[in-house]
């Protein structure tokens, strides 16, 4: 077994790390035992990196939990048992975990406990760009935010010491460019924590019923006050004061995280980094009041540089008010910087130039601008989701109706685009079935209601909604796209494969049994291979027409995973050809199905198959009305 550099015990060595690797390294260095969470971009590499390290540090106990709430609870159970524990998720995952989180913050941490929230300004891979710093304000826990991978490693290591010292949970907030950026990082020492582990039977603390919670709430407020008092000494906050004026004005900048390092780029670019005061926050909540007061005293104008909501800006305004400032101090924030999206490099250059009165020239758009049509992400060749959506369309056609296709989050969300246009809703994970419950209550029976979601999503949060449908007789057809993988976020295993994050065989949860257990009657459950198109259409039609709550499991291993397995085992996929004599250029395969391997030539529009792209699923053979597509058998 080759020891990855990331797992070396070689303090002082400098290596390149992805932000998420640096976070994993910091978790290792902190002596953490339990790591749990659910995949979600941009957080997904943290736990797998720890899983690689686990081979050399067997004390690590890691898992992909079934959803973020469970992942958080797993970690919190660890904290109750006196081990350092971390819960890892993307920003919207914190919504799922928040029920546990909000009350856990009352009882506080025993073993150091950190919740990592990976936020995604610009929604690069997310359904929204919510700003999770507010969860710190909401729960009264400190929010740490690193600005570079090195700082991320050092800060998360410190977060566990901090958590134990104050018995407080820590919310560790990052954004995409930190998680998915590389930098040089110096390895630190891996801490081994030698102490007794195990649960302590402290009912007054761990049983949060009203009579206890009122007391715990008082402790939470006390803790929070202590942390607020400490904020000025927080080692990752830094105040740099300058009395200089630019055009007669003393500027004081406030920033944290990625915007802090981007701000430095811009100030360096204009050569004014030493002419302004800068408050860099590593602790974005609660605020370091003394540092802020000093900054105010040295500034005429405060410029808060933060992506998304005016979180720090409002804090600055509140403190300015409390300190009795009025006209003599201006606080800029969202009047200068946008409240949506990520700040690109030039947003800093442009807005700082405008504020300070420097000149910034935008890159001109040439007159002969060449428009390049967008390159949207698409379903892979051979993707079982494509054939399932195609089958659903065929059944709609047979029944001469339109379905309500309530859907969900996963690769299959890409079926919204042409030519499939197969989904009508997508709000949050598990939402497909939940929404369908409501839609089914009022939708006329002419438009059957379908809820379409992936296997991992079903395990995550589809199950309660399915039970709800059964219980409340909200009739619908649930289609589970079982590709045996959590593909969208990087092919993580899930209960359906029964393989754990450290690659050990666990126990496989069988979907058919599970839905039966949810109360779906056995005659209302169908299973078919997603590659068997004709059978799928036949059974789907039956399922759509049946009564009650029904489940159709469309199963085929994710084609990307399967093609990698084939390559490793040197299996050659079937070779699919088009008989040029038989092809009548009807374009059904291309215009209705749209697998990337299908091409039509310019001249006569006859179809051919690009063999380097085709993965041999053979679904197009069934689609071609002329039987022009065939498998070439040597």
């Amino acid at each position: 077994m080759i020891r990855p550099e990331l797992a070396e015990e070689n303090p002082g060595k400098k290596i390149i790390m992805l932000g998420n690797e640096a976070i994993a390294r910091g978790i290792l260095e902190a002596g953490v035992v339990i790591g749990a969470g659910y995949p979600g971009t941009p957080s997904s590499e943290i736990l797998p990196t720890l899983a690689e390290m686990q081979k050399f540090y067997p004390h690590l106990k890691l898992e992909w939990s079934v959803n973020e709430k469970v992942g958080f609870e797993v970690a919190y159970g660890g904290s109750m048992s006196n081990v350092r524990s971390v819960a890892v998720m993307k920003h919207v995952g914190v919504n799922v975990a928040s029920d546990a989180f909000m009350t856990a913050c009352y009882a506080g941490a025993r073993g150091g406990m950190v919740l990592i929230s990976a936020d995604d300004p610009n929604s690069y891979s997310s359904q929204n760009e919510q700003d999770n710093r507010y969860f710190g304000l909401h729960a009264l826990v400190p929010v740490f935010e690193p600005s570079t991978p090195q700082e991320a490693k050092d800060m998360i290591k410190y977060a566990f010491d901090f958590s134990e010292e104050y018995q407080s949970l820590v919310l560790f907030r990052t954004t995409t460019r930190l998680n998915h950026g590389r930098a040089d990082v110096i390895l630190g020492e891996v801490k081994v924590i030698d102490r007794d582990y195990g649960f302590d039977w402290d009912r007054s603390r761990w049983v949060c019923l009203p009579s206890h919670s009122r007391v715990l709430r008082m402790r939470l407020l006390e803790r929070f006050e202590e942390i607020s008092d400490y904020a000025d000494e927080f080692p990752f906050n830094a105040l740099k004061l300058s009395g200089e004026k630019i055009n007669g004005i003393r500027y004081g900048f406030v920033a944290a995280g990625v915007p802090y390092s981007q701000l430095l780029n811009a100030l360096n670019y204009y050569g004014i980094v030493d002419k302004v005061s800068i408050l860099k926050l590593g602790l974005v909540f609660p605020p370091p009041k003394e540092l802020i007061k000093k900054l105010f005293a040295y500034s005429d104008e405060i410029v808060v540089v933060e992506e998304l909501e005016p979180f720090l800006e409002n804090i600055m305004k509140q403190i300015a008010f409390e300190e009795g400032y009025s006209k003599e101090l201006t606080i800029h924030g969202k009047d200068i910087f946008p409240q949506n999206g990520e700040f690109s490099g030039e947003i800093y250059l442009e807005n700082i130039a405008r504020l300070i009165g420097l000149s910034y020239k935008k890159v001109p758009v040439p007159e002969n601008m060449l428009i390049i049509p967008p390159r949207l992400p698409i379903l892979c060749p051979g993707c079982g989701h494509r054939s399932t959506f195609y089958a659903i369309k065929q059944v709609e056609k047979l029944m001469k109706t339109k379905f309500v296709n309530s859907s969900d989050i996963g690769c299959y969300t890409l079926a919204v685009y042409k030519p499939l246009e197969g989904i009508d809703t997508e709000v949050c994970m598990g939402g497909s079935i939940g929404l369908a419950n409501g839609i089914a209550k009022v939708q006329s029976s002419d438009n059957p209601v379908l809820a379409i979601l992936g296997d991992s999503t079903f395990f995550h949060s589809g199950i309660p909604a399915l039970i709800n449908a059964v219980f409340n007789k909200n009739n619908m057809l649930v289609v589970i796209l079982d590709n045996r993988s959590t593909s969208m976020t990087g092919f993580q295993d899930n209960p359906g494969t029964g393989i754990t994050i450290t690659n050990e065989p666990g126990t496989r949860v069988v979907l058919e049994d599970l839905v039966k257990g949810c109360g779906v009657s056995p005659e209302n459950i169908w299973v078919e291979d997603a590659y068997k198109l004709n059978e799928t259409i036949k059974k789907l039609e039956e399922a759509v027409k049946a009564e009650g709550v029904r489940v159709f499991i469309s199963r085929h291993l994710c084609s990307l995973v399967e093609s990698n397995q084939f390559r490793a085992q040197q299996i050659i996929p079937p070779s699919i050809m088009v008989d040029q004599e038989k092809c009548i250029s009807c374009m059904i395969c291309i215009n209705k199905f749209g697998c990337q391997a299908l091409n039509s030539n310019e001249a006569d529009k006859k179809v051919s198959i690009e063999s380097s792209v085709c993965r041999g699923c053979k679904v197009c053979i069934d689609i071609c009305p002329q039987d022009a597509i065939y498998e070439e058998i040597e």
Binding site: K14, T41, R182, S261, A266, S344, L370, P373, P374, R375
Partner: protein, 206 residues
């Protein structure tokens, strides 16, 4: 070499190895003792979308993102992707572009017009005078493995003398990401890339 900040933007299509190139280049920059920052497209990258990686190194780099107009070198593994991010270039920017065009499948299938290489060349001429094209796939395929296209392109950057990294360190970084059975062919790809870069620069091999 004392460099304040060197900015490279590498673009391509998911699956072309843009992330791998970022890994290689940042490792090489580490070997040459620079401070490094990158920002990359992860997540949906494998689904055939546009991908970009920003790479910055030098003594004065803090944040990973490059402002528009301020890129030193744009390395495009796919030609139309270079147009998409044209405004990251200024008049000094050097483009090294793989002549390959990958028409997005949906665009091709729906019969929507997609620009060709001539149009791309003509357009970019107005953006910067330093545009170099290379048939990376053909060179790599002639060598026996189209997947060495990236290494050919990295070699060409050295040959063009636009990358402030030592040839030896870059080669070492490339090989460190490959199984030893692929070392020989990639060494060749790197050398041919360098020659090609020298040729494009119209210089001599010194």
């Amino acid at each position: 070499m004392e460099i304040k900040s060197y900015n490279l933007l590498n673009v391509g299509v998911g699956g072309q190895g843009v992330i791998r190139a970022a890994q290689i280049l940042s490792y090489a920059a580490l070997l040459d003792n620079y401070k490094i920052r990158t920002a990359e497209t992860h997540g949906m990258a494998q689904r055939g979308g546009s991908v970009a990686s920003y790479l910055r190194f030098g003594t004065e780099v803090e944040g990973p993102l490059i402002p528009r107009g301020k890129t030193d070198t744009i390395l495009a593994f796919e030609a139309s992707e270079a147009v998409r991010i044209f405004n990251y270039a200024g008049p000094e920017t050097v483009f090294l572009i793989n002549e390959n065009i990958i028409v997005p499948p949906v665009i091709r299938q729906m019969g929507i017009y997609y620009p060709n290489l001539t149009e791309i060349r003509d357009f970019l001429k107005n953006v910067s005078p330093n545009i170099f094209f290379i048939d990376g796939i053909k060179i790599a395929t002639d060598l026996g493995n189209p997947r060495t296209m990236n290494v050919v392109m990295l070699g060409a950057l050295i040959g063009l003398q636009v990358l402030p990294l030592k040839k030896e360190t870059l080669q070492k970084a490339i090989l460190s990401y490959l199984y030893s059975k692929f070392h020989d062919i990639n060494k060749k790809a790197f050398e041919i890339g360098i020659e090609k870069g020298v040729e494009l620069r119209g210089g001599s091999n010194d």
